[in-house]
Symmetry: C2
Subunit: 236 residues, 2 copies
Amino acid sequence: MNLMLLKSDSIENNVAKVSGRQLEHLTQVQRLTEGDFLNLGEINGTMGRGKITMLTDEQASISLELGVQPPRALPITIILALPRPKMLRRILQTIAAMGVKNIYLINSSRVEKSFWQTPFLRPESIEEQLILGLEQAKDTILPSVHLRKLFKPFVEDELTGIVGKSRAIIAHPGAEKPCPINLDSQVTLAIGPEGGFIPYEVEKLLSVGFDSIHLGPRILRVETAVPALLSRLFPA
Amino acid sequence: MNLMLLKSDSIENNVAKVSGRQLEHLTQVQRLTEGDFLNLGEINGTMGRGKITMLTDEQASISLELGVQPPRALPITIILALPRPKMLRRILQTIAAMGVKNIYLINSSRVEKSFWQTPFLRPESIEEQLILGLEQAKDTILPSVHLRKLFKPFVEDELTGIVGKSRAIIAHPGAEKPCPINLDSQVTLAIGPEGGFIPYEVEKLLSVGFDSIHLGPRILRVETAVPALLSRLFPA
């Protein structure tokens, strides 16, 4: 954790009250005590630092000096075939850490039905992973994660509106064109499941304006492909 | 697994004998049977396909048609501060999958001493992770992994020889220059532990010709930074 993220309701008059996981991190991992400073941010707000003014076993009071804007978001919407639960958690962290603010988790023929039953898709579980990613990267803006359990109506009824005027690409091993680099436009990026989108799904995505691109001859796991794609698509 | 990798000693006269984990994968995950084909490669050799000619509960015989060269290696040597054991395994997989063939795992002030005790550093455990990465990416060439438990003698006595005429860079959040892109030269890339190299270590690396670069304002976990760096440094 490089930045502790606070919920708005824990802040009053520029003083934060911290308990639970965050208090434990503060005392056990960071080993801070009264008078110490730490990096802090308000979820969906600004960042800065705070001074611990009071510390008990149950709660810390922290006097805040916020006001620093979080880093710029990436101009991208990710359309991701729902990964297996364990990988889902890491990918949510990675996506949040890298500055993505809009994610659609969608169904695909190669997504196992059981993946939709995982408790890791509960809103509080998704938020937990996103916050871990933001705390790692030093950002405050929570990404929006949308679940779409039906591929066809999503593509036919909703995707055109999401794509808008953005550059729409599918990462697909074996595509002819390489992944573009250092784009300055808005991007919509579709990433298939392990094993890839099936041909019908690729056709549907092409039909609403997507273009297939590759990352080289190697087949990468989704959790490796995501940072590799984001890193090529936008300037550092 | 997109390619099953075979050890040379399991191949004789273009026929492979497969048992254990690989036999299980073949029958349980891929659900193959006699007469079926699968993608195969020989460790440090060529790739191609094989036909299952005999299948029992203990062993499969596979008739091989190899001869396809594996994909080009990345022209890079990675110098990586030893990550925590769980992350180490994933990073070894990622590095192998992305085509890195030379890795030095080194000590650094922020590497916990206990990390050097993990069984995941045993040669057979390292090889297992590397093979998983190669089988994912469809490659056959095993990377070389070198362990260096002392930072100073490594940098002073060995690193200059490793760097040679390559472009030597340290990935360091807060550096002034951004990560270069689409290089066609040989690269030596140093990556610190969580929390980064300490200033003394950065100084030592700069003194043997390294240059600091950043990946943007966000602080990424090592397992995210590695694919992000490799993806920017070299063309897709």
